[in-house]
């Protein structure tokens, strides 16, 4: 980056002469190096999966959940600074609740994503604040059907059929593109999601990781829930087997 050291990267409220906001780009860097998170929007629901990097063997398994629930029908996960992600999740919960207070119906995913991205964008305007160092994935089934959105540190929000963020995003995106997402069932998507997370994880470079998956759709009565234990274990096992087969090839 040529302009580094010129002082244009000290504040989110200052553009560089070529029209960039470096603080926002640095925030993206925080995401690019973090554990991978993917989302699959399929025929009858959405599946979220994250590669949770285990920083210490002293951490309890299945603690410090990375996939959170915003409303009964909205799931959330983020890649990047975990604490920033939690802050955004709480904000999203407040937005969902206030929407419910006002309209007395479950909010659409789009409504929540719009509000949340306005919030994220506001943190790119001022010198007194730091942009959020995380990219959020929001999954839901609302009155319009299944939905999957990504909100980046810039405040940009886009809807996707399949989304991947974090360190393994490139490979994951390639894998997602191979799938016929709109024809997959939720159950099939769980297996694909597990396989992709295992695939993109670099055993050589990375520390240990834990797979975490949630889903929402026809299988869950349109409620955002963790993937049931037995299905999770089966998907996890199949993913490992697929990986080993690839090695042998």
């Amino acid at each position: 980056m040529t302009s580094i050291g010129t002082g244009y990267d000290l504040s989110a409220s200052t553009y560089s002469p070529d029209g960039r906001i470096f603080q926002v780009e640095y925030a993206n860097k925080a995401v690019e190096n973090a554990g991978t998170a993917i989302g699959l929007r399929v025929k009858d629901g959405v599946v979220l999966a994250v590669e949770k990097i285990i920083h210490s063997k002293l951490l309890m398994p299945e603690s410090n959940k990375r996939i959170l629930t915003i409303d009964r029908h909205i799931g959330y996960t983020s890649s990047g600074l975990l604490a920033d992600g939690r802050q955004l999740a709480n904000r999203a919960r407040e937005e969902a609740q206030s929407s419910r207070d006002f309209y007395r119906e479950p909010p659409t995913l789009k409504a929540i994503v719009n509000r949340l991205s306005l919030f994220v964008q506001a943190y790119t305007l001022y010198s007194s604040v730091r942009p959020f160092g995380c990219t959020s994935l929001l999954a839901a089934v609302d009155k319009h059907g299944p939905g999957l959105y990504v909100i980046e540190p810039s405040g940009i929000s886009l809807g996707y059929h399949g989304a991947a963020v974090g360190k393994g995003r490139q490979l994951a995106k390639t894998e997602l593109e191979k799938l016929k997402l709109s024809e997959l069932s939720m159950r099939e998507a769980v297996f694909e999601a597990a396989r992709i997370i295992h695939l993109v994880h670099d055993d050589a470079k990375e520390k240990d990781f834990e797979l975490e998956m949630s889903w929402i759709g026809s299988e869950t009565n349109n409620v955002h829930l963790p993937v049931p234990k037995d299905l999770f274990l089966e998907a996890d096992r199949k993913a490992r087997e697929a990986l080993e087969e690839d090695m042998e090839d």
Partner: protein
């Protein structure tokens, strides 16, 4: 019911001209309009539900309430559910002001949703819901801005014990094996106590349904603000079920023979 358009949306006052029989200019009015002070806190219920009854039986708890929401003496809404499931092991039944009850339903739903989003395996049981409601009701009465309801909370606790409690607009609380609110305290409570307290062992589900049906029938016969269309909620360790509207078989033939009823006027 006051049918004149100038009085639409205004609470009726039964004590003056209940049938709108006077011309507008001569119409007797209450000394003070209930809306005269502009925005007012609930100082009287407007659209109301009548009794709620409940009892403990061997499998859990049973609640019943009819489907009527009255506007004074007018049977205004005849398809209103007054039993509200909260979470997976609690039902709240309400009498009194129906708009206040709708507000409470929303508060409870928000509470359950919030608890769900925490995803920590913790569930709100009937004792928690009861405690929450009693704090809300007592808090509002202490602000002199009460929620005008009598509530019955029924459910099954995580340890399998059944729970039945009462909370009202004053924040008064109590728990008992049988509960009946409003007019039901006079008509249904004695029947319920006869069925439950006088026996050493708890009622079976069939017996409980029978007593509830008996109570709802008696209430329909004697409570002028009741409707012969009611629902029964059951809470067991399996969860909450609320029946479709039921009807009690009634007999009115005797009325023919009574002077003052029907065709016979003298």
């Amino acid at each position: 019911m006051d049918h004149h358009p100038t009085n639409w949306g205004r609470p009726r006052d039964d004590r003056v001209d209940p049938y709108g029989t006077f011309p507008i200019h001569a119409r007797p009015r209450p000394a003070k309009d209930v809306f005269a002070d502009g925005v007012q806190r609930t100082q009287q219920p407007i659209v109301t539900g009548t009794s709620v009854i409940g009892l403990k039986y061997s499998g859990g708890v049973m609640l019943a309430a009819d489907n009527l929401a009255s506007y004074g003496s007018l049977a205004r809404y005849k398809d209103v559910q007054r039993l509200h499931p909260v979470g997976t092991s609690t039902v709240v039944g309400a009498g009194g002001d129906m708009s206040d009850f709708q507000h409470l339903q929303h508060m409870l739903d928000s509470l359950v949703t919030e608890e769900f989003t925490y995803d920590d395996g913790n569930k709100l049981g009937p004792t928690e819901i009861y405690e929450y409601l009693s704090r809300v009701m007592y808090g509002r009465r202490s602000k002199m801005d009460p929620l005008w309801n009598a509530l019955v909370v029924g459910g099954v606790k995580p340890n399998g014990e059944s729970f039945l409690g009462y909370v009202d607009l004053l924040g008064t609380t109590y728990q008992s094996p049988t509960i009946a609110t409003g007019f039901g305290a006079y008509i249904a409570q004695p029947l319920l106590r006869n069925a439950v307290d006088e026996r050493p062992d708890p009622l079976s589900e069939e017996e409980a349904v029978k007593v509830i049906q008996q109570c709802m029938k008696a209430l329909f016969y004697r409570d002028a603000r009741s409707l012969n269309k009611y629902q029964i909620a059951k809470v067991t360790s399996e969860g909450v079920t609320i029946s479709d509207p039921l009807e009690a078989p009634t007999v009115w033939g005797f009325a023919e023979g009574i002077r003052g009823y029907g065709a016979q006027t003298q």
